[in-house]
Amino acid sequence: MRPGGAGRAVLLHLAVIALLFGLQFVLAPYHHTNLSRIMVLASYAIGYNILLGYTGLMSLGHAMFFAAGLYGAGLTVQYLGFGVISGFSAGLLSGLCLAVTVGLVALRTSGVSFMIVTLMFAQACFLGTLYLSNWTHGDEGFVLDAEARRWSFGGISFDLSQPTARYNIALLLFAVCLLLCLVLVRSAVGRVLIAVRENEERTVMLGYHTFRYKLLSLAVSGTMSAAAGATYALLFSYVGSTFASFQYSIFPLLWVLLGGVGTTLGPLVGAALMFYLVDISSGFTSSYMLVVGVALVLLILWAPKGILGTIREKAVSWLP
C-alpha cells in the first residue's frame, strides 16, 4: 500500500456516507424505503465480510446471527415490553452470545467442515424458530406494535415508522458498521486476521494464537449481523422465520461475492445491486431466486473477486 492511501481511503468512506445522507433528499419515496432496507442489509453483509473477506472463513449459517438480533429485539419488545434501545441491546447481546457459543464449537473445524457445521447450527436455529411457534408464530411471523417503536431521547421523540427517522437510523447503523470495519481491518488485530486468511500455519508459527483471533472475528461478525437483524426488526416491524432460513445465509455470501470479497465497500455495492436485480426480476416472474442462482454461478466462474475486488486489482490499488 502506498503512503497517502490511508487518508484517501478514510475520505472515500466519509464521502460515501455523505452521499447516502444526501440521497434521502432527492429520492422518490419508493427508492427511499428501498435504500433504508439496503443499508441495513449492507450492514449485515459487512459483518459477513469481516469473517469471509478478512479472516478467510466461509460461513453458510449467518442467518442465525441475523435472526438472533431480529428475534432478540422482536421478542423482547413484543412480550417483555422493552423499548427501542433496550430491545436493540437485547438483540445485540443474543447475537454475541450465539456467535461465541457457535465459535467455540465450530472453529475447531475449518474449510468445508466449518461451512457444514455452521449450516447445521443455522438449520437448528431455523427449526427452533418454527418449533417455538407459540411465541414466534413460525413462518407467519408477527408485527411489532407501532407504540413500541416510538423512542424519545433528550426531549425529542422519534417514530421509527416515519421514513425520515427510518432512513437516518439505517444510515447511522451502516456508517457505524462501515467505519468499525475500516478501523478493524487497518488495526494490528485486522492485520493478524488477514494473515490467518493468507496462511494460518505461518501465522501460528509467528506465535499468534489464531483460534482467539478467529473467535474474535466471528464474535464481531456475528454481533454486527445481529445488530443489522435487530435494526431490521425495529425499523420494518416484521419478525418471521424466513429471516433465519438458508436463503438468508446465502444472501450475504452473494452480496459480498458480488461487491468484492475483502473490500470494505463491497458489501454495500453487492447488496444494492442484488436488491434491485431481485426487485426488478420479481416484477416479471415469481422465480426471482433464479437470478440469485445464476449470479452465484457466474460470479464464482468468471469474477471470484467481485466488482470492487476487480477494480482494486486493475486500477485503484489503495482501495481498502
Binding site: 464449537v105 427452533g128 418449533y131 433464479l290 442462482g293
Partner: protein, 293 residues
C-alpha cells in the same frame, strides 16, 4: 391402536424411509468420496426425479405401471445428462476447489429449483402408484407399494455396490478417489471419471425421487429435506465411506421414522442437526468411518 402395533407401524415407515434415504445419501457419498465435492444441489436431483416421474407418467395416461416404468428409465437419463453438463460447464472450470464448488452448487440448487417452479409450477402433484394392493395386518392395512420401494432400493444398493467393487468402472473410480494424480499418470481419464461419478450420484438421488413420488407428492421445494438428511447420514457415516453411509442411513432413517411418530418431527430434526454438527467437530471421520488418511 395400542403401543405394540403403533411401534410396528413406526418401524415399517422408518424402514421405507431408511432405504430411500440410503439411496439418496449413497449418491452424495460417492460424489464426495471420488470428487471431494460437497454437492449442495443433490436434493434438487431428488426433486427432479419426482417431478420427471410425474411428467413421464402423464405421457401415458391410464396406465400407471407403464408410465412408472418409463419414468424409472427416463428420469435418471435426463438427470444424468444434466449432471454431466453441470460438471463440464461449471465444476471442471473451478478445478473442483472445495469452497468454490460449494458456492457453485448452491447456485445450481436455485437454478434447478426455480426453473422447475417456472415450468412445472408451485403445485404439489400426485403420481399413481404402479401397483395397487394392500397388505392386511391384524391391526392395520399397509400399502404394498411401499414394500416395492424397499425391494427396489435394496436391488439398487446392491447394484451400486457391485459396480463400485466388482467392475472396471468401479475400480477406476476407486483409484481416482485414492489418488487422483497417480490415477491420471496411469492413463485413467480422470475428467471422464468425474463426469460419470457426478452423473451416477445424481441418478441415484433421482431414482430415489422417482420411487418416493407415489407416496409423497412431487413439489418443487421437496429437495431440501432429503438434502439435509443425506448430509447428516454422510457425515455420521464418515465422509467418503460407502459402507458407513449405508449403515448410518439405516440407523438415522429408522430412528427418524420412530421418533417422528412419537415426538414432534421438528424437535427430532433440531436434535439431529445439532448432533451432526457435534459429530463433525468431535469425530471428523464419522461414527462408523475408518481413520482418515
Amino acid at each position: 391402536m395400542s403401543f405394540g402395533p403403533h411401534l410396528f407401524l413406526a418401524l415399517l415407515e422408518g424402514t421405507v424411509s431408511a432405504f430411500v434415504l440410503a439411496l439418496t445419501a449413497l449418491g452424495l457419498s460417492i460424489v464426495f468420496g471420488v470428487m471431494r465435492v460437497v454437492n449442495v444441489a443433490h436434493g434438487e436431483f431428488f426433486m427432479l426425479g419426482a417431478v420427471l416421474a410425474w411428467a413421464f407418467s402423464s405421457l401415458i395416461p391410464g396406465m400407471p405401471a407403464a408410465g412408472f416404468a418409463l419414468a424409472l428409465v427416463g428420469s435418471p437419463i435426463v438427470v444424468g445428462a444434466i449432471a454431466i453438463s453441470a460438471d463440464r460447464l461449471v465444476l471442471r472450470r473451478l478445478n473442483y476447489g472445495p469452497e468454490a464448488t460449494i458456492v457453485a452448487t448452491i447456485g445450481l440448487l436455485y437454478i434447478i429449483q426455480q426453473v422447475v417452479l417456472m415450468t412445472y409450477g408451485p403445485d404439489a402433484r400426485p403420481v399413481q402408484p404402479p401397483i395397487n394392493f394392500r397388505i392386511v395386518f391384524p391391526w392395520f392395512g399397509y400399502s404394498g407399494y411401499k414394500l416395492v420401494v424397499v425391494a427396489a432400493s435394496a436391488v439398487l444398493l446392491a447394484a451400486t455396490w457391485y459396480v463400485m467393487m466388482r467392475t472396471r468402472l468401479g475400480l477406476v473410480m476407486r483409484a481416482t478417489q485414492f489418488d487422483r494424480e497417480t490415477a491420471q499418470a496411469f492413463g485413467i481419464p480422470v475428467d471422464r471419471v468425474y463426469s460419470l461419478t457426478f452423473a451416477l450420484g445424481a441418478a441415484l438421488a433421482c431414482i430415489a425421487g422417482v420411487l418416493i413420488v407415489p407416496i409423497q407428492q412431487a413439489h418443487y421445494l421437496m429437495g431440501l429435506d432429503p438434502l439435509l438428511l443425506s448430509f447428516i447420514v454422510v457425515i455420521v457415516g464418515g465422509l467418503g465411506s460407502l459402507r458407513g453411509t449405508v449403515m448410518a442411513a439405516f440407523v438415522i432413517g429408522i430412528s427418524e421414522g420412530v421418533i417422528s411418530v412419537f415426538f414432534s418431527p421438528t424437535l427430532a430434526k433440531i436434535i439431529a442437526t445439532l448432533f451432526v454438527a457435534l459429530v463433525l467437530v468431535l469425530r471428523p471421520g464419522g461414527l462408523f468411518g475408518e481413520k482418515s488418511r
